[in-house]
Symmetry: C2
Subunit: 209 residues, 2 copies
């Protein structure tokens, strides 16, 4: 069954979006048509409005500020020398929503399965190193000639892939931070001992407090 041209082209485009399959794409287009011309116009405009979004030149998060920095990087009350490196913007959001972190972030982008960074990721990482060297002054003695971060948190998933990526990044970033850390392993809140895997339970035992 051939669908109208405008219909099919939009459905194809929607199918390219993450976690939208061909059937859902078709359902979505029918939904939009049913909603009517005003809704269609509004959605089209809201998507076009994304062009107003800027990317922070320091951490690569989104913002709409007059300057080049996002709300977090531009906030003078946040520690610039404690940096959480994350893969995805949504990882930043999750960490930020805990309300327990007062450093800043650095979005590296999803690391390819090969473990080899894309060229744009290498550029981002080089930018981070340059920033640390030029802008962060170590308070510890003996003063190094170059700047150094207080702490770099490798905010990667605690999966085998995340562990692998963290070990790669740790090597890269070791010279640029006094301390390199990862997120703590243990039982999740509400977690039951009976159903925890050995690895998690072992970590919870070691890190008991």
């Amino acid at each position: 069954m051939r669908l109208p041209d405008s219909f099919q082209k939009l459905a194809d485009l929607l199918t390219e979006l993450p976690s939208i399959g061909p059937r859902q794409a078709i359902r979505l287009v029918f939904h939009l048509i049913r909603e009517g011309q005003n809704s269609v116009q509004t959605l089209s405009q809201r998507i076009a409005d994304l062009k107003k979004i800027k990317i922070c030149e320091r951490c690569f998060f989104v913002h709409q500020n007059a300057g080049a920095l996002c709300d977090i990087c531009g906030n003078p009350s946040r520690h610039q020398d404690i940096i959480a490196v994350v893969e995805k913007e949504t990882d930043l959001l999750s960490l930020e929503n805990t309300g327990r972190y007062n450093g800043r972030y650095f979005i590296l982008g999803e690391i390819p399965k090969s473990g080899i960074l894309e060229d744009w990721q290498k550029l981002r990482l080089q930018g981070l190193k340059n920033f640390i060297e030029k802008n962060l002054v170590s308070n510890s003695e003996p003063r190094t000639s170059n700047g150094i971060a207080e702490e770099i948190i490798l905010g990667f998933n605690l999966t085998s892939v995340g562990d692998f990526n963290a070990s790669l990044l740790e090597k890269e970033l070791k010279p640029f931070a006094k301390k390199i850390s990862r997120l703590g392993r243990g039982l999740p809140t509400g977690g039951e001992i009976e159903f925890a895997d050995d690895e998690t339970l072992g970590s919870a035992l070691e890190r008991r407090d």
Copy 2:
């Protein structure tokens, strides 16, 4: 964490779409931003292009033809007097994709849980009745003064809700068709007897061939 205005507004709008939750909406917006301005512009334009889509005045399916009828209703080789009433456009697509049907369709829209049709649905149904009375001529004797359809297929789900809706529609449409039918019940292709429910298996037994 406050997201930029343009970001949040689009995420809110996407959340209103069927089967897109707030988290997926946010992931989608980040994805669009990462894809860059050209992709954003293309998607915005493709959505705006939906305004070119028309709704068939006879069956209410989508089309982009010069006239008022969709490809199916406008096809002279399809039986106009065999009409499959379906709730959703996607139900039409599924039936059409079987390649085994040469009648036409009528999209009623999703019937509310109350079983009481919305005003616009009543209008559609009245339009169907008018069309049958004015345009379909019965070949059977004695000729009725009004037209009558050869067959109306109630293409509803074989669920208890679908059964209920079918019984309502059957009452409404009985005077307008020589035969009112529903989709056949039985084992699905590839279905195993061991795992079929009693109702399905009973129907399969009764309708054995």
